[in-house]
């Protein structure tokens, strides 16, 4: 019966989110709410990679970019519909994640982190230089509004419902996957890859599935963004964008479903509050990360399992205090 209060809480939250457009008549607030949900989707998809299998991806903007450009190119040139493009952009993004993952996932954490950084830059530079496909620095304007049963989706409230549906679906799918064999394997790999392999977990296979799933949802987010903004250019997918998403995951907390949701909401609202000084947005994000590391290294709602080693060394005091055994070098 312990789950009952939680179910009630989620039901209340769900009803509240569904009725939000009725409560907020202001179009600007609806836009903020939509952007928050977009970042919730992005942060949650990054959390699938960083939080659950312990692969440190810092170039998540690349997958977001691939999804957005897939959607923009296919819809403006070939007239694909929004609803077809949502999964399709995700799939293309997941395909590209294989290109990155197959050579690099065999490596340990930090190498992977650096290669994702490079990958993100490659995608951005390719988008900028491949003018015949992506129109280069001019970007792609005029992405049409999507249709639903003959109704054109164009107001912020319409987009809000679409992204709300996607986020709900994403969280549900992720939750189901995490409780399956695959999710258990990810967590085992994150905690101790050698031990997981000894237990017969095929680490590489599961890490690739993990990366592809994360990239898939980032691609979906990119597709949504392309239709929501109706104009995209390479400027929207710089390393900074990847770092913003990373900041949301780190501040909210890795390794739980709730963490990135809280982080994305908190940081997006924070940067909206300081809208007048928009150029300070990333400064705020950076300081937020630093403060989080000092006050609560696992993030606001993070999984403390990630930092178990931290607690162990603190509690048992196995680590030799370096100060205690310090001797003056000149006396020897």
């Amino acid at each position: 019966m312990a789950t009952n209060p939680r179910i009630i809480l989620f039901a209340i939250l769900g009803v509240f989110l569904l009725l939000l457009p009725l409560l907020l008549s202001n179009d600007y607030f609806m836009r903020v709410a939509t952007v928050i949900l977009l970042y919730v989707l992005l942060a949650s998809s990054l959390n699938v990679i960083n939080g659950y299998s312990g692969q440190f991806n810092i170039g998540h903007a690349a997958f977001y970019c691939i999804g957005a450009y897939t959607a923009a190119i296919l819809s403006t040139r070939y007239g694909f519909s929004f609803w077809v493009l949502l999964p399709l952009s995700g799939l293309v993004s997941a395909l590209f994640s294989c290109l990155l993952g197959i050579p690099t996932l065999r490596l340990r954490g930090i190498y992977f982190a650096m290669t994702t950084l490079g990958f993100s830059e490659i995608i951005r530079l390719s988008v900028l230089n491949w003018t015949s496909l992506t129109r280069g620095p001019m970007g792609i304007p005029g992405i049409p509004f999507p249709n639903l049963f003959g109704m054109e989706l164009r107001s912020n409230a319409h987009f809000y419902y679409v992204i709300l549906g996607i986020v709900a679906l994403m969280l549900l799918v992720t939750q189901r996957v995490l409780n399956s064999r695959i999710g258990r394997a990810w967590i085992a790999i994150r905690e101790d890859q050698a031990a997981a392999r000894a237990m017969g977990v095929e680490a590489f296979k599961y890490k690739l599935i993990n990366l592809m799933l994360g990239a898939f949802w980032a691609g979906v987010a990119g597709c949504f963004y392309a239709f929501f903004a109706s104009y995209i250019s390479a400027d929207s997918f710089t390393l900074d964008e990847g770092f913003s998403i990373l900041a949301m995951v780190l501040v909210g907390g890795q390794g739980t479903l709730l963490g990135p949701v809280i982080g994305a909401t908190f940081l997006t609202l924070l940067s909206e509050f300081f809208r007048g000084i928009a150029q300070y947005r990333l400064v705020i994000f950076g300081i937020a990360i630093l403060l989080t590391v000092y006050l609560r290294p696992q993030g606001i709602a993070g999984s403390s399992m990630l930092f178990r080693r931290y607690r162990e060394t603190e509690e048992s005091g196995i680590e030799v205090e370096i100060e205690e055994v310090e001797l003056d070098a000149t006396h020897t």
């Binding site: 937020a288 290294p297 990630l306 070098a329």
Partner: protein, 290 residues
């Protein structure tokens, strides 16, 4: 002929990368952590050099010194903020702290210095001398001289001074070094500052080489320093220097055959290839784990 010219450009540029990579490998060895903030250190060094050159009308050596001093201080600051408090914590914590600091520094730099590219005054007036058909710019000669001089100085520091020996001891085993009377905290503090100031000098050299400095130059440069370090074998400073040189050469040869818009892609491709074929790098020992 064309090939030789590209080779020369590659060596000049590669020697700057080598300097960045040596700094990076010192951090890896002494602190024992990958630093995500090194790119921003390079950028701050470049800006320190830029402002000294433009506003104080001084010569290049003063600019190099300014880059050195500014990033030495920054290095000590980084150690206090990102490494010292988390020495006994899980490795991820300090890593995340360097990411946070890197975002803060870069976006602050964009506010303070502006988002536009700034043009560094050319101290050598674009002059060059020709050997056969190959043009050797004075800037290139100067860059190479500075790097070679610094490498010799570093070698003396590592093997002839007490501080250098302490640095190597700490890089090998912190606990054993502490038991033998090395002041580990101070060594890490100054070792990191030294590594950062090498990054700062290479930032000034980069600014002179391209005649331009930019607040966002850090990320790509960090990527190149990391690639060179991996290429050479992580904690080996000699390896890092060789890796940097090779990266510079490959880049220039690559750009000669591709569009220059793809210059920054080459470092990434080399990184992947090295990691696939020989993850321990050229001069790396096995078992270095990060």
């Amino acid at each position: 002929m064309f090939f030789l010219q590209q080779l020369l450009n590659g060596i000049a540029q590669g020697s700057i990368y080598a300097l960045m990579a040596i700094g990076y490998s010192i951090i890896l060895g002494v602190v024992g952590l990958v630093s995500f903030v090194h790119g921003e250190v390079i950028m701050i060094g470049a800006f320190a050099g830029f402002y000294v050159l433009t506003f104080l009308y001084s010569n290049v050596l003063v600019a190099l010194l300014a880059g050195f001093v500014a990033t030495w201080a920054l290095g000590m600051f980084i150690e206090k903020i990102c490494y010292k408090p988390f020495r006994n914590a899980a490795r991820e914590v300090a890593l995340i702290a360097t990411i946070g600091l890197s975002i803060t520094l870069r976006s602050s730099a964009q506010i303070v210095f502006g988002t536009q590219q700034k043009f560094m005054p050319d101290m050598f007036g674009n002059r060059f001398f020709a050997v056969g058909d190959i043009r050797i710019a004075y800037t290139q000669v100067f860059v190479m001289l500075v790097v070679v001089a610094l490498c010799i100085a570093l070698r003396q520091l590592f093997f002839r001074t007490r501080f250098g020996i302490a640095l190597r001891a700490v890089a090998m085993d912190k606990k054993a070094a502490a038991l033998l009377g090395v002041n580990v905290n101070r060594t890490i503090l100054f070792g990191n500052a030294l590594a950062c100031s090498l990054g700062g000098i290479s930032g000034v050299l980069l600014g002179m080489y391209y005649n331009a400095v930019h607040p966002l130059m850090g990320a790509t440069m960090a990527m190149k320093a990391f690639t060179s370090t991996v290429f050479g074998g992580l904690t080996s400073t000699t390896g890092a220097a060789i890796g940097g040189l090779l990266l510079g050469i490959f880049e220039n040869l690559g750009v000669a055959f591709l569009s220059s818009g793809y210059r920054d892609i080459i470092a990434f491709l080399i990184l992947i290839v090295v990691l696939l074929i020989k993850p321990s790098g050229l001069l790396g020992r096995k078992g270095v784990e990060l």
